[in-house]
């Protein structure tokens, strides 16, 4: 066997260019396969970690995915607001432990503004029930104070004490700015890897205050003076959604039913876990398509190896005949090719894994910054090992095709050499 390994090695080195290309093909397909797998699993866990500890999300009547998207992911808009009275009623419901009101609709330089109150900082949780923590400063207290998500502060280079102008709606253009009412940054939340990072938090009162004079949807020119507004006590009339935490999870269904059949106004209550699952289910088509594509890339890579092995076989008929004449048995010829295919696949896999890890370590901070998805340079998971083993086994199996052919050729050719 030592002889065969030695010969296989020398023979491959003699065909260096083809061998390197084959290894690269396998490596690229392995990078893609594992890369897609990594992004997929990490995106999924990142996604599932967006909100936790919240039992019900309540908003105007709509589908659960839509409600989840605007209330948690800040994507899209609410179909309808809910009345402050409904909030008061349900926040004081006997099975509700805590309630967080959310009011959306304004923006700052592309980042959504969310009106809420102190209970948000107290009860909102993400990941595995991690609470929000302030990186700098404090929670908002006054009307014209704001707490930024970490990404907002980082991207726009804001410090504590800076003043920012909010815009009405999500398009930040001159005529829609609340530009006579600047907000002072009093706190910055530590990075969470969730949409919280991209949110500008203000109090519910502030949302009411900046919209005085905007009741028709545009500034009609009688926005009162800031000092006057600070004096005034604002009571919200409407909010966009609320997050509820219950005393006991057993009450979830009963309360959900109660909210969904609420007589005063049409409301929807959703369970975040189920909605997240449904949302992910919608995205999993793309995810699976990606996985299938990368699977095909692996197949293409291995077929590339097969074709280069088969092509080389024709040139190597003489090599095989010489080996046979020197006393090599057909099984030597067979294992010569199998070991070549196995070694090429193995080297391809190794190179692929090395490439993947170096790419991840380079790209992880960029991905974290751009998409908030945390891709860590962690050891290969059992599933990834399985995928790699599958690639290796396929490589060996594919080696059987040229090996078997060479075997048959060397039996048929014997000592005569046909070129």
């Amino acid at each position: 066997m030592k002889v065969i390994t030695h010969l296989a090695l020398k023979s491959v080195l003699n065909r260096k260019a083809t061998a390197i290309l084959t290894i690269l093909t396998v490596a690229v397909s392995v990078v893609l396969l594992l890369g897609v797998e990594r992004v997929r699993t990490q995106a999924k866990s990142s996604f599932a970690n967006t909100i936790s500890g919240t039992d019900l999300i309540v908003g105007g009547r709509s589908g659960q995915v839509n409600l989840l998207l605007y209330s948690v992911f800040r994507i899209g808009n609410a179909t309808n607001n809910i009345d402050w009275k409904s909030y008061q009623e349900f926040s004081q419901h006997r099975s509700v432990k805590w309630a967080v009101p959310i009011s959306l609709g304004d923006s700052h330089k592309g980042f959504r503004v969310m009106g809420t109150n102190q209970s948000y900082f107290e009860h909102y949780q993400y990941g595995s029930k991690q609470p929000l923590t302030l990186q700098q400063g404090r929670e908002f207290d006054g009307v014209f104070e704001t707490v930024l998500g970490s990404e907002v502060a980082k991207k726009l280079n804001y410090k504590l004490g800076d003043e920012i102008i909010l815009a009405h709606g999500i398009s930040d253009v001159a005529f829609s700015r609340h530009d006579n009412l600047p907000f002072k940054i009093v706190g910055i939340i530590a990075p969470t890897g969730t949409p919280v990072d991209k949110t500008v938090h203000v109090s519910l009162e502030a949302i009411e205050a900046i919209h005085v004079g905007w009741e028709s949807g545009a500034n009609l020119g009688h926005t009162p003076d800031i000092e006057l507004l600070k004096q005034h006590q604002f009571e919200p009339k409407q909010i966009t959604a609320m997050l509820l935490g219950l005393n006991s999870k057993i009450q979830t269904f009963a309360l959900q039913r109660e909210i969904n059949t609420y007589r005063q106004e049409p409301l929807s209550a959703i369970m975040p876990g189920i909605a997240l699952h449904e949302l992910w289910g919608m995205m999993s088509v793309a995810e699976q398509a990606l996985l299938i594509v990368s699977g095909f890339v692996v197949v293409a890579g291995l077929l590339g190896m097969l074709s280069s092995l088969l092509t080389s076989l024709q040139e190597r008929r003489r090599e095989m005949a010489i080996l046979r004449a020197m006393g090599a048995r057909p099984r030597h010829v067979f294992s010569l090719l199998i070991s070549e295919a196995s070694a090429l696949t193995f080297l391809g896999i190794t190179l692929g894994v090395v490439c993947l890890f170096s790419m991840i370590s380079v790209a992880a901070p960029i991905i974290q910054q751009a998409y908030g998805i945390n891709i860590s340079v962690s050891a290969l998971t059992a599933y990834e090992w399985k995928l790699l083993a599958l690639v290796q086994i396929s490589g060996i199996l594919i080696g059987f095709i040229p090996a078997f052919r060479a075997y048959r050729q060397s039996l048929a050719d014997g000592m005569t050499i046909r070129i």
Binding site: V3, G327, T416
Partner: protein, 237 residues
């Protein structure tokens, strides 16, 4: 009969053999009798297509005669399994091809010691270090010392054939078969090569079977047969 006894002196003993590549075809080779004595230098003459390759494949045990007995060095090859025949070949037969004899990715010396990699018996017959023996053989075949560490692709055809000869000779196999080894050489080199090969075969106490379509080489050999005459098969073209 003293047949058993005779067998020991005979390196090759063919009796009433018949071979065809496919059962439905007429035989390509039919030889009623062919004997080669130990340490003989036999020239087998024959134009292409007269069954030379077939005969060689039978002598080396790559193929099996459908009828008759092929006995090499007293061993009936028809009694052996394919893998036993492979081992037998590796141990007892040195083979020289027409041309492109060498593995391009091995060094000159590695090419020479290749048969010893596949046969323990042949390796054991080399008393000294394998590399030294290979170099010694190459030296005796007049291959310049400077070329021994070059890649084989840098050697001329004539030099390559001498390396191939050294490879056939290493480990002193009992039988050396040369299949048109001089066809790519010019006339002077041809005779020189054959003389060297014979000399070294004698030193190794090997029997030499030399196959060629070139009748001008016949005079260099003591024994000679014409395959066209010996082969009774109607099947060959």
């Amino acid at each position: 009969m003293s047949r058993e006894h005779d067998n020991h002196a005979l390196v090759v003993d063919l009796n009433d053999i018949s071979f065809s590549w496919k059962p439905e075809l007429d035989p390509t080779l039919e030889i009623s009798s062919l004997q080669v004595q130990s340490q003989e230098h036999l020239f087998i003459k024959g134009p292409s297509g007269c069954g030379k390759s077939t005969l060689l494949s039978l002598l080396t045990g790559i193929n099996q005669a459908q009828k008759g007995h092929v006995s090499i060095l007293g061993q009936d090859l028809t009694q052996l399994s394919p893998s036993q025949r492979d081992t037998f070949r590796a141990e007892n037969i040195g083979y020289i091809f027409q041309q492109f004899n060498l593995l391009p990715y091995l060094s000159v010396v590695d090419n020479v010691i290749l048969p010893c990699q596949f046969s323990k018996k042949r390796r054991l017959k080399v008393d000294q270090d394998l590399n030294d023996t290979a170099r010694e053989l190459l030296r005796r075949l007049h291959l310049p010392e400077a070329l021994m560490d070059k890649p084989v692709t840098e050697l001329s055809i004539g030099q390559q054939q001498r390396v191939a000869a050294a490879r056939a000779l290493i480990g002193k196999p009992k039988l050396i078969i040369a299949d048109e080894p001089t066809s790519a050489l010019d006339h002077d080199n041809r005779e020189l090569f054959i003389e060297l090969l014979m000399e070294q075969a004698d030193q190794a106490e090997s029997t030499l079977i030399f196959v060629s379509h070139d009748p001008t080489l016949e005079k260099l050999f003591t024994q000679s047969i014409d395959l066209k005459v010996v082969n009774n098969a109607k099947g060959f073209q």
